[in-house]
């Protein structure tokens, strides 16, 4: 009896998990062969066709305390994110601000019912990933998508310099 209940509970949990539209972002930060390497600042957000920010997903920047205010000084280098959203925010933002990440592949998963995505109305959007590196370059990669997804799909783009492979996986 008990095990049946546990099974039922598990099953309902799994159904709940599956019925919520999920969004997974994979971001590759390339290993660059440069004399002075700094980890990039990265912003990941969802915008409407009018370029309004619909959801901020992540901003990675230097979090350790410094004389200039924890690296927030360089946030305007994420030019488009700064313009669309950052300059109006009080940093750090809970659930969005994070430390810079090393070269490699990074996966971020967001539950459709979670606080990042629950206010996203059905419609057309673009996932935007912007990276900017001290003594380096800046790059912006966009992936358009429809929300919520009708079927499971993965879209991949490739940056040329500051970003490697970037993919967006949507689960209905």
């Amino acid at each position: 009896m008990r095990s049946l209940l546990v099974l039922l509970a598990l099953a309902s949990l799994m159904t709940a998990r599956l019925s919520a539209a999920d969004l997974t972002v994979n971001v590759e930060i390339p290993r660059l062969d440069v004399s002075e390497y700094h980890r990039p600042y990265v912003a990941i957000w969802i915008q409407t066709p009018e370029r309004k920010v619909a959801a901020n997903l992540a901003v990675w920047y230097q979090q350790s305390a410094g004389a200039d205010g924890k690296g927030e000084k360089w946030l305007p280098d994420l030019r488009q994110w700064w313009r669309r959203s950052g300059r109006g925010l009080e940093m750090p933002v809970d659930g969005i601000s994070g430390a810079t990440r090393p070269a490699g592949k990074h996966e971020l998963s967001f539950d459709g019912k979670g606080k990042h995505l629950s206010k996203l109305k059905p419609g057309k959007y673009t996932l935007v990933i912007e990276a900017s590196r001290e003594v380096g370059g800046r790059e912006l990669v966009e992936i358009p998508f429809q929300w919520p997804a009708k079927s499971q799909a993965t879209e991949t783009r490739r940056g040329e310099e500051e970003l490697g492979s970037v993919s967006l996986k949507l689960t209905p």
């Binding site: 200039d68 205010g69 000084k73 360089w74 946030l75 305007p76 030019r79 109006g88």
Partner: protein, 268 residues
């Protein structure tokens, strides 16, 4: 003493700007900032090329910095060298600062003992400068505004509210929200009122690295508005001037107004 010499020279240069190729300007190190109390450093100079120091420094006596709350703050570390003046601004408040040099004064000419004399300076010093028995006195009031804008965090407009004196540039598009290939719109005011038919010169910086000035002329419409689509990212200089007879100084018969602003256009 040296400061007043620089001031007079500045007024002089500001007056001849429209007849000669000299450009007066303030250029901030950057216009969009973030962090705890970020600083900008600002150059102030008169030159032929934008934005290079090859002619004359601007005097800082009439520096007026308005913070995002509308309060006046000091320019720090002020220094005037051979070719440029420099000062720093600490952006303690969030929002937009208007950094300006506002020169108000007059220039006059008269005849005394059979000789023609010229004089430039502050209106308050004029009475004592004019000798008894001077004839053919001709007084022109001058109001010159040289300015730039810097924002810590999100742009605000309190510091940009018009003072009602001289030519002023009012945002329709915020001057710290300009991007390449996008259209920017500003409104020009004279004495706080929309100024139609003002011809504005727009020149992109780095003139030394191209063969022509590539000056663009834009004329303000009935509402005093000018529109311009920035072709590419960079620092841009806007300038205009006007003469009228709407004087506020006793004995002045005409007034000369000038405006020069520096704005930064960011890449997409």
């Amino acid at each position: 003493m040296i400061r007043s010499v620089v001031f007079s020279a500045t007024v002089f240069v500001a007056l001849i700007t429209t007849t000669q190729a000299h450009k007066v300007w303030l250029r901030p190190s950057q216009t969009s900032l973030s962090g705890n109390d970020p600083w900008v450093t600002v150059d102030a100079a008169v030159s032929n090329d934008l934005f290079y120091f090859n002619h004359f420094p601007l005097g800082l006596d009439n520096l007026v910095i308005i913070d995002p709350n509308g309060n006046q703050v000091e320019g720090q570390n002020q220094s005037t060298g051979k070719y440029r003046s420099v000062f720093d601004v600490q952006l303690k408040e969030k929002g937009t600062y208007r950094i300006a040099i506002v020169n108000q004064g007059l220039f006059a000419s008269w005849e005394h003992d059979g000789q023609r004399r010229r004089w430039r300076g502050r209106a308050s010093d004029f009475a004592s400068a004019l000798p008894e028995g001077a004839t053919n006195v001709n007084v022109t009031e001058s109001v010159g505004r040289i300015e730039t804008f810097v924002t810590n965090g999100a742009p605000t407009e309190t510091a940009l509210e018009p003072t009602g004196k001289g030519i002023e540039l009012i945002p329709v598009t915020h001057p710290n929200d300009l991007y390449a290939e996008e259209e920017g719109t500003f409104q020009l005011l004279v004495n706080g009122k929309p100024a139609a038919g003002l011809e504005v010169e727009i020149i992109q910086g780095a003139t030394r690295y191209r063969n022509s000035q590539d000056t663009v002329h834009v004329t303000s419409d009935d509402e005093g508005k000018i529109k311009y689509t920035w072709p590419e990212a960079g620092m841009y200089w806007l300038s205009t001037s006007k003469s009228d007879s709407d004087t506020s100084i006793p004995n002045a018969t005409q007034r000369r107004l000038s405006y020069a602003g520096t704005v930064e256009v960011l890449p997409q």
